[in-house]
C-alpha cells in the first residue's frame, strides 16, 4: 500500500479516537481547555506545515522518520510520570495566559502551575508537524512537552492532549482530503474498526494488566519501527 493512503486513513482513525473518547475524558474534570486551546495554535500551524512537507518529502524519508518516532513512543511508555508536581513556583507567562489550574483529588482540589510555556509551545509545533507529516496523533511528543517541559500533572496532560489530538488531526485531514489522500474504500473499515475497538477496549482496559500490555505494545512497536526504517533505507516504501 502506498504510504500516503495509509497516512490519510490514519488521520481519520486519530480523529475518531479523539472525539469518541472525549466524553469519557471530560467527565472526570481533569482537562484544561485553556492549555489545550493555547497550545493548539502551535499544533494546528505545525499540522499544516507537516501536511505541506508530506507532499514534497520522498516516501522512504517519511518511513524513516516514522520509524524513529515509533521507537521514541515505545521508550516514553516506560518513563515514570509524576502525579504531583512539586515545582509550584509561579511562572509569569503561564500566569498572564491563565494556564494554571486545579484538578480534583481525594484530598480536594490540587492546584498546579505551568512552567516554561515558550519551550512547550515550540515542542507543540514540532508535535503538530509530525502529526501532519505522518498522520499520527503525536501523543508521545505532546506528553514530552506537557509533562517534562511544562510540568503539567499527568492526569491533566493526558486528558488535555486527547482534546488537542483531534483538533490537530482535523487541520491536516482537511489538506489531505483536498489533496486526494483520503480514500473512502480504505477509510470505511478503519473508522468502523476504531469505533468497535474503542467500545470493546474501554470495557477490557479497566481489568487488563497494564504493565504487560505496555511491554507487549512496546515490543510490537519496536519491531514495526525497525521494519519501517529498514524499508525506508532499502527504498521499498
Amino acid at each position: 500500500m502506498d504510504i500516503r493512503y495509509a497516512i490519510g486513513a490514519s488521520l481519520i482513525s486519530v480523529i475518531a479516537t479523539s472525539s469518541g473518547a472525549a466524553s469519557a475524558y471530560v467527565k472526570e474534570g481533569y482537562s484544561n481547555i485553556r492549555i489545550g486551546m493555547f497550545l493548539e495554535i502551535a499544533t494546528t500551524i505545525g499540522a499544516i506545515f507537516g501536511a505541506y512537507l508530506a507532499g514534497i518529502t520522498p516516501t522512504n524519508i517519511i518511513a524513516i522518520i516514522f520509524g524513529i518516532v515509533l521507537l521514541y513512543s515505545a521508550i516514553i511508555t516506560f518513563i515514570t510520570r509524576n502525579e504531583k508536581q512539586l515545582n509550584n513556583k509561579n511562572d509569569k507567562v503561564a500566569g498572564a495566559l491563565k494556564l494554571n489550574g486545579n484538578y480534583p483529588t481525594k484530598n480536594g482540589l490540587q492546584s498546579y502551575s505551568v512552567q516554561r510555556v515558550p519551550q512547550g509551545f515550540g515542542i507543540m509545533f514540532i508535535a503538530g508537524s509530525l502529526s501532519g507529516l505522518l498522520g499520527i496523533g503525536s501523543g508521545a511528543v505532546k506528553v514530552l512537552a506537557m509533562d517534562q517541559v511544562m510540568k503539567i500533572p499527568f492526569k491533566v496532560s493526558t486528558t488535555t492532549s486527547n482534546f488537542m489530538i483531534g483538533v490537530t488531526a482535523a487541520a491536516s485531514a482537511g489538506i489531505y482530503l483536498t489533496r486526494g489522500y483520503i480514500d473512502p474504500g480504505l477509510s470505511l473499515p478503519v473508522i468502523l474498526g476504531v469505533l468497535l475497538g474503542s467500545i470493546v477496549g474501554a470495557k477490557i482496559l479497566t481489568k487488563a494488566p497494564t504493565y504487560w500490555l505496555k511491554i507487549l505494545f512496546s515490543v510490537v512497536i519496536i519491531v514495526l519501527a525497525f521494519e519501517m526504517i529498514r524499508n525506508g533505507f532499502s527504498g521499498k516504501i
Partner: protein, 126 residues
C-alpha cells in the same frame, strides 16, 4: 468560593462539549456505515489497488462535489461525506469553545479560539 463556582460552570461546559462530540462521531459513523453498504454492493467483488498512488478523483476532494455525490447516493460520496462529518467534530469543539469563552467574558481566549478556528477553516477550504 467564586473559583469553585467558576470551575463548576467550566466543567458543565466541557461535559456538554464531550457529549456533542460523541454525537458527532456516532452520526459520522452511521453515514459511513450506510455508504459502506452501498459501496460493498457495488465494489465488493473488486480488488482494491492501493499499491500505486494516484490520488482520489477531483469529485471526492472538495466539499460541494462530495455533497452532491452523497445526495445522489453515490456510495463513495456518502462515505466521504461521513468522513467530513467526522473531521467536523473537532471543528465543532473549537466553535463551542469560542461560545463558552464569550459566555465567560474571557476575551483573550475568545481570540485564541478564533485563531485556531481560522487555521482549521483555512486547511479545510484552503
Amino acid at each position: 468560593m467564586k473559583d469553585l463556582k467558576h470551575s463548576q460552570v467550566e466543567h458543565n461546559i466541557e461535559v456538554a462539549m464531550g457529549n456533542l462530540l460523541r454525537l458527532g462521531v456516532i452520526l459520522a459513523a452511521s453515514v459511513v456505515f450506510v455508504g459502506g453498504i452501498f459501496y460493498l454492493f457495488k465494489y465488493g467483488n473488486t480488488i482494491p489497488g492501493f499499491e500505486h498512488f494516484s490520488g482520489e478523483p477531483s469529485d471526492l476532494r472538495n466539499l460541494p462535489e462530495i455533497f452532491s455525490n452523497a445526495v445522489s447516493f453515490h456510495s463513495r460520496g456518502i462515505i466521504q461525506f461521513g468522513l467530513i462529518l467526522l473531521i467536523a467534530t473537532p471543528v465543532a469543539r473549537v466553535i463551542f469553545a469560542v461560545a463558552a469563552f464569550i459566555y465567560e467574558k474571557d476575551y483573550m481566549y475568545v481570540v485564541f479560539s478564533l485563531i485556531v478556528l481560522v487555521i482549521l477553516l483555512c486547511s479545510l477550504f484552503g
